[in-house]
């Protein structure tokens, strides 16, 4: 790790002042990703601004029947929060599918959104990586790309976003509340993370002088018909090859509302509203699920080691929608897929 300065933020306004004053500073909360990246010399902030003591640790109901989650609520507390377990169990399930309990105890809600890709070449500083060193090239496109993306990739970057929690937040149409020098704004989850294009060094549309203060959920939590299915190279504590968040609102056998988002396949949590539209009004059956998978994967493109993900994603989408329709969500401790 390189030499850096350490400062504490006294409140949100002070945090914004401090980050705006130093373009090479970074916020630190849980630190589970940032400290790792600093040890590997991928991140080299001149100053860490400690926001971990700011009063952003509550989960509260909002006037419109939704939920406001403070940016510093630890991932484990969020997964086990009674309101999340009861009303947004897909979110709880996705959180518990990621990392280990130690890391979930440390990691913050806001920080989960801002974690960087686990692409091998992003971490390996002797290789070319446009995300780490813009203009240097992408080693993954012609290298070991088993974990790389199949949707929304570019010539510059085929990295994936590693979060499980964000896949559920995308499906639930969360909003991200941020504060900057000009005040507060709400960012729709679909617009928070971005595709790589020619500027993969930018993971999100958060401005450099802004801080996340909360994640907000709308009232509809899909607590009856949901599932989060994560496929990975070992049964626990590994990043997704493919993960699927599926939520349905059923009227009898007919799909009234559908949500479908994938993890492990793109530079951002991949929610597809066209696939959701293809499900709406249909009977909840394998044909409809299969068609939705075809729609979602219409532009999928594999690379040397990850073309298998296209068929894997197709099967995972159908299975997860089936689990959601049956009301038998995937268990995150008994890993048998039914």
């Amino acid at each position: 790790m390189i030499n850096f300065q350490y400062a504490r933020a006294t409140d949100v306004a002070d945090a914004v002042r401090q980050i705006a004053a130093d373009p090479t500073a970074k916020f630190i909360a849980g630190g589970t990703n940032l400290i790792d990246l600093m040890k590997d010399d991928v991140e080299r902030p001149s100053r860490l601004i400690d926001i971990s003591r700011l009063p952003l640790k509550t989960v509260e109901q909002t006037a419109d029947g939704g939920l406001r989650i403070g940016a510093l609520v630890p991932n484990s507390d969020l997964a086990y929060h009674p309101l999340v377990e009861q009303r947004y169990p897909m979110l709880a399930s996705a959180i518990l599918a990621g990392a280990s309990q130690q890391l979930r105890n440390m990691a913050s809600t806001g920080g989960n959104l801002l974690q960087r890709t686990r692409c091998l070449y992003f971490y390996d500083t002797v290789t070319r990586c446009n995300k780490r060193e813009p203009g240097s090239g992408c080693s993954a496109i012609t290298g070991i790309n088993r974990m790389s993306g199949i949707l929304g990739t570019s010539e510059a970057c085929i990295a994936t976003h590693p979060s499980d929690m964000c896949v559920a937040l995308a499906a639930l149409e969360a909003k991200v509340r941020v504060v900057g020098p000009a005040g507060e704004r709400l960012i729709a989850f679909a617009n928070f993370h971005r595709l790589p294009g020619n500027t993969p060094q930018f993971d999100t549309n958060l401005r450099s002088n802004e801080i996340i203060t909360a994640i907000e959920l709308p009232a509809q939590g899909f607590a009856s018909n949901y599932s989060y299915l994560k496929i990975r190279d070992r049964l626990s504590y590994a990043f997704a090859l493919v993960s699927v968040a599926a939520a349905l609102e059923l009227e009898g056998d007919v799909i009234k509302e559908a949500r479908l988002a994938l993890g492990g396949v793109a530079h951002k949590p991949w929610r597809d509203t066209e696939a959701e539209a293809a499900l709406r009004g249909q009977a909840a059956n394998p044909e409809a699920f299969s068609h939705a998978a075809d729609v979602l994967l219409r532009d999928a493109k594999g690379y040397a080691h990850n073309s298998f993900k296209i068929d894997l994603a197709r099967r995972a989408i159908i299975r997860t929608l089936t689990q959601a329709a049956r009301g038998t969500p995937q268990s995150q401790s008994n890993k048998r897929i039914r």
């Binding site: 790790m1 390189i2 030499n3 850096f4 300065q5 350490y6 980050i19 373009p23 090479t24 970074k26 630190i28 630190g31 589970t32 400290i35 790792d36 990246l37 600093m38 040890k39 590997d40 991928v42 991140e43 080299r44 902030p45 001149s46 860490l48 400690d50 971990s52 484990s76 086990y80 518990l96 990392a99 280990s100 309990q101 130690q102 890391l103 105890n105 440390m106 960087r116 995300k131 780490r132 060193e133 813009p134 060094q201 930018f202 993971d203 999100t204 549309n205 958060l206 401005r207 450099s208 049964l235 626990s236 504590y237 268990s331 995150q332 401790s333 008994n334 890993k335």
Partner: protein, 173 residues
């Protein structure tokens, strides 16, 4: 509207070396006053400043769990924790589990079930299991396995570790 990226790299010699920062911790019930650099991890503070070498450095990247300790009662990876950020915290390491010379029930259970071979991961396994039992979320063997997945055992003592935890929880395997 440029997001902050890893490409904004300061020149190494342009950053003044910061003064060491005072940190107060209560470690295994004893108050400790330290002066640490900003980059000193809690793991290095425990091992190198307080000579509590029971907590192990395995991967140093949060992937193996050997460095697991309890901070304010919660299990965390001390290798990914900056000591300066934990000023005022209460820390329990493997050295703090026994009371008055009597082993913690989990330590005794690990012995009873031969839940280790080389022993390098054991301090982390023990602290993690103490955290797991306090959390109260794991009931079945599947749930114990899942919620202990952050602790890797290179010797593969997993079945015995699960049995030891079940004994300490007072459930039949």
């Amino acid at each position: 509207m440029a997001a902050r990226t890893s490409t904004a790299r300061p020149l190494l010699d342009s950053i003044p070396v910061p003064d060491k920062i005072p940190v107060a911790l209560i470690v295994n019930g004893i108050e400790a006053q330290l002066r640490v650099a900003p980059w000193t991890t809690l793991l290095d503070a425990l091992r190198d400043h307080l000579n509590l070498t029971g907590t192990k450095k395995g991967c140093d990247h949060g992937q193996c769990g050997a460095c697991t300790v309890l901070v304010d009662g919660r299990r965390v990876n001390s290798c990914l924790t900056l000591a300066v950020m934990k000023d005022g915290a209460t820390v329990t390491t493997v050295e703090g589990l026994a009371t008055d010379g009597a082993l913690h029930p989990l330590q005794q259970a690990f012995i009873d079930h031969d839940a280790f071979q080389c022993g390098y991961c054991t301090p982390g396994q023990l602290c993690s299991a103490v955290g797991l039992i306090q959390e109260g979320k794991a009931k079945s063997a599947d749930e114990i396995r899942e919620l202990m997945s952050g602790n890797i055992c290179r010797c593969g003592a997993y079945p015995n570790i699960v049995a030891a935890i079940q004994q300490a929880m007072g459930v039949k395997p």
